[in-house]
Each structure stands twice: as C-alpha cells, then as structure tokens.
Point group: C2
Chain length 346, copies 2
C-alpha cells in the first residue's frame, strides 16, 4: 500500500490505538503492547504487517529501527478527524469552569479567567484574546489633558471595552472637551470603523472651512486617539509552566517560552488559523508553518462571536501529544458558554 488511504477498518482501528497509547504513554508503541490491548486478539505479527503498511502510507514514523512507532502529523490529523464530537465534559471539569467564570461581567476579566481555566483543565497553555473591536459600537470618548504635551484618550465601546492611551499633543482642556462632545454627539452608536471612515471623509472634504474644534478633532484623529485596530488587543496566556513537564529539550523549551511571551506572536497564530466563519472548534496540527519554534505543537481553538462579529478567540496550545478529545470538548464548552453569556446581555 503506497500513500493510499488506510480505509480498511482494521487499519483505522490500529492507527487510532497507536495514537491513543502514544498520547497516554509518550513512548513509541510496539506491536506487542498493541496486541495485548487489542480486543480482537490479533497477534503481534499481524499488527506488525499493518503497521508496516501504515508507515508506508506516511502515518507512522520510527525513531530508529527496532523501536516502536510514533504517529506522524498526518496520523494526528486523521485521528482528530474521526473523533466523534459526542464526548461530554466531565462534571468535575464543568464545575471548575462554572465556578471560575461565574458572575463575571467584564469581557477582559472573562478572557483572563478563560485562559487560566483552560490551562488548568487541559494542563497545557491556555490562551484568550479580546480583539479591539473595529466593528464595536462606540459608546463614549473622553479626553483629558495630563500635562505638557500629554493628552489621555479614553474610548469606551458599547460592549464594555475600554481603551486608553496617552498621546503627545498640546491641546487645552477646552479644546479637548469640544472635540469629545462633537464625537460623542455625532458618532455614538457607530461602529469604530464607520466612525473613523466618516471622520476621515469629513476632515478631507471640509478642510477649507475648518473651525478650531475640527482642528482639534483632526489632531486627535491623526495621533490615533480613536484607533481600534489590531494593536488594540489584549492577550492572556497562561500555563506556560505546564510545558516544562512535557518538553525534554531545554533549548527548545526556552524557545517555546520565549515565543509565548511575545504576545503578538500568539495573536498572529490565532489570527492565522481562526476565522469568523468557522462554526466549531478548529484543530491545527503542526504550527511550524506559521512559527518555526512551534513545530510539533498544535492549536485547538475557537472564535468568540457577539452578534456575528468576532470579539476574540480562545485556544489551548500544547504538544502534538495532547488529549485531543478533552481539549476539544473543553474549548467547545467554554466557547458556547461565552456565546450564551455575552449574547444574552445584549
């Protein structure tokens, strides 16, 4: 058999058995072990034949001759694909999640706790990001002069996100108040994107007949006071310490931790693989494409939507040797919880 799908029922069974025992033990799995566990009582020799076929087809790898077999990325993909989505989270885990997220109203805090509880339950890295929300409705802006050349800009969106930044600008408080009033009166309820676009249009068009206030608005706009772009994201990464137990190579361990510390990289990862359209949990095996230091790692994540718009995403990141079923149900459970909680309060 060369690269043909291992369509046979027997092949399938043996492949998933290999994947599962490897995930459980972490050691190359040999034909004998497999034969013992196999309920049909096949002999090691038979299993060896099948294994040889699977190896030819690219599903198994051998660290060295006379060692057991290790699943390849392909094997994991196949394994995940044939998992039934029917597994339920244990009550224990459900309780932990409920306790952890109960009564939290703040999106930020929700994200923070989510990353924490994800890492806790999965024993891997839990990640949650809240995107700045260019599609969020503007609720209120506020500008405050802090001192020489410094202005504090605060933007509140209707979903409860608060972004603040300090700009280098020299405007009086009166000017700032005027600009804020203008924006609040004209753009309340607009999406950030729409507001910015309209503002840009007006500034362009009415350039000749500027009054003092519009000049202030322009300055604020140009300095990014109203930005709600990709940079305006909060990322929570927790459980990096869990990787210590799993990764033997110290060099690699350090690289991994470093990568996880660079939050933008994590954001990029999630962004690259999760999109708004997908409905369910997505499993990405082999992150080395997007991030070389993450080879042999997988991402199990889902977007969080509020009213159709992506508000953020959550994920578990761990080695290929991860409990897929468990991680998938956990992520899925929290994502649904999220949707329910966030969407009910609209």
């Amino acid at each position: 058999m060369q690269s043909g799908q291992p369509i046979g029922e027997r092949e399938r069974e043996i492949l998933t058995a290999i994947v599962e025992t490897f995930i459980a033990t972490g050691e190359p799995v040999g034909s004998r072990t497999l034969a013992r566990a196999n309920r049909e009582g096949l002999s090691p020799a038979t299993i060896r034949n099948v294994m040889a076929d699977l190896a030819d087809a690219g599903f198994l790898e051998q660290p060295h001759t006379s060692a057991g077999r290790v699943p390849s990325s392909e094997a994991y993909r196949y394994y995940v694909e044939q998992l039934t989505g029917k597994a339920r989270l244990s009550h224990e885990d459900e309780n932990i999640i409920q306790d952890s997220l109960h009564g939290v109203a703040d999106v930020q805090e929700f994200m923070e706790r989510t990353s924490h509880v994800l890492s806790l339950i999965s024993h891997n890295v839990g990640v949650a990001v809240a995107v700045g929300g260019p599609k969020n409705a503007l609720e209120h802006v506020y500008f405050s002069r802090l001192g020489d050349q410094k202005v504090l800009a605060v933007v509140v969106t209707r979903s409860g996100l608060v972004r603040d930044r300090v700009l280098r600008l020299d405007l009086s408080q009166a000017d700032l108040d005027g600009a804020a009033r203008f924006i609040n009166e004209n753009f309340r309820g607009w999406t950030m994107d729409a507001m910015r676009a309209e503002l840009a249009r007006r500034l362009e068009q009415e350039r000749s007949e500027y009054d003092r206030m519009m000049a202030s608005v322009e300055q604020l706009y140009r300095q990014g006071a109203l930005a709600a772009d990709d940079a305006a994201q909060t990322v929570y990464v927790e459980g990096a310490a869990n990787l210590v137990a799993g990764e033997q190579d110290r060099q690699r361990l350090q690289e991994l931790l470093q990568t996880l510390e660079e939050k933008q990289k994590v954001v990029a990862l999630l962004g690259a693989y999760l999109d708004a359209k997908q409905e369910a949990v997505r499993v990405v095996i082999g992150l080395d494409q997007a991030m070389p230091s993450m080879r042999n790692f997988v991402l199990i994540g889902a977007p969080v939507r509020v009213g159709g718009e992506v508000m953020g995403s959550l994920a578990v990141i761990g080695p290929t040797r991860i409990d897929y079923q468990h991680a998938i149900t956990t992520v899925s459970y929290i994502a649904r919880l999220f949707d329910k909680l966030l969407n009910e309060s609209e």
Copy 2:
C-alpha cells in the same frame, strides 16, 4: 575563627573573589583556581586555610568533601554590601534602555517596556508594577449602562491611569449620569483615598435625607466602582524563559514559572520588600522567607515615586548567582530615568 566577621583584608578579598568567580562560572570554586587569579600570588594552601575559616564563619558551603566552595547567602549579602555604588552602565545598555523607553508617555506602557528591557539586559526576569494609586488625584469618572444589570465604571486619575470594571447593577443611564456629575463636580482633584473617605462619611451622615441621586452614588460606591485598592494593580513580568538556562532541576523550574505566573504573588513579593522610604535600590537575598518556591532567588528592586508618592516599583528577579553589580546599576538607572520623566511632566 567562629562566626566572627571576616574583617581581615585578605579574607575580604578572597571572599569577593570566590563570589565573583562562582557567579561567573557557576561551579564550586577551588583553592587552585583562586590562587591563579590572585594577584598577590598566594599559594593554594594558604588560600585553603582562609577558606576553611570562611566556611567556619558561615560564608562558604561545600557540596561534598573534595569539591570546591560555594558562597552562602551570607556571603552574597556581604558581597553586595561592599560593592561600590560607583559602577556605570555601559553605553550599549544605556542605548537599549533609551531606545526602548523613548517617547513613551503612558505609564502603563512605560511599565510594560520597563519589564521587557529589564529582562533583556539582565538576562533574568524583569518585573514592573503600577499600583492603583490610592493617593492619586481623581480626574474623572464615567458610568455607562451596558445592558441588563450591567454598568461599566471608568475612573481616570490625574496621572493618566485608567481603571475600568463592570458591575452588576441596575441603574438607568440618567441615574448614572447624575451620579457621575456629582462625583466629578465635587471630588475632582481629590485623592482617591480622600474621596472615598469623604463619600463614606456623607453617605453615613445624610442617610435620612437621601435623594435619588445619592442612592445611585451609594450603590456604585458599594459595588466598588471607585475602588483604587491593591487589587487595582497592573503587573508586567517578562523574561521568565531566561530561567530555563539557569535552573537545572526541572521540578523546581516548573514551580518557579508557576509562581511567576501568579501575578499577585509577584506583587506581594515586591510589596513585602520595597517601601516608599528607601532611597536607592534594594537587594533582597533569599526570597524563600516570603515565598518557598523562590529559595535561592534574589530580588533587586526599587520603588518608583511621583511627587513623593509610590506609583509602582520595578525589579529584577534572578538566582543568587546573578551579576549583582550589573543588575543594581540597571535598576537604579531606570528608576532614576523614571523619576526624571514622570516628574518633569507634572
């Protein structure tokens, strides 16, 4: 010599030599190595005698007979004490710091970058915390009804800190606006502490003659809308990955990373050892007192003040085997830079 101070000039010299070579190499240092480096050309045998004395006095420890000596915590304390404060930061390091912090106006961002640059330069863990600032002057509050039972509270202080939280409250936007107007008009410029105290007093005293607005204020107050307490701190911890190289014991490494992930613990550490009164950098050797998982670790930190009030603190955390001189000058340099930048703009 039993527990007497190693007052002798020779002892001092040898002790610092031991500490320095141990810091540099990480291996127990023997009499021969020391003799080679010693400029007075003492023989190994003589040095052995001195070392025996130092060991008796509690400054040196021996992993096993016939191994070199390792400095004890006492030795590090003694070593740090006798360091001259005159060392200057290398221009290279100064440039890195300047580049990294240049043009940053926002306190939060300043803290974030500080922790980053600290970890970068020291090759250890960099920490920076901004305290909520109970002594900060109130600039502005803003309340917004988000939906059923949810209210967003935003507090802006004069120093540019923005705190937001979502409360479970059911007040109309009109009520919220009234309460905000009341607080802004009456308490602008007050310190958070004073404002809270006065508010509590008034609520107590005028309980009988409440109007609708004061009732709203009370609800907000009770729900913590105006809290600016210890919980309201932001912590930045960076460079945890650097510990991988230094710590051999995996079990311990994991514990360390876990501790650093629990931000409150880090805050507690800084809080326990750094106080407003101290002028310069403080070096704390042996963190196991406050945090068992941190045994054999040291903290090199300084508070950040604005106008006499503590606004936060910064620190390097690393193993006892750290380049003290370098870490001290780095922390001191950034602390001074901080003071300069923050205080100039007042």
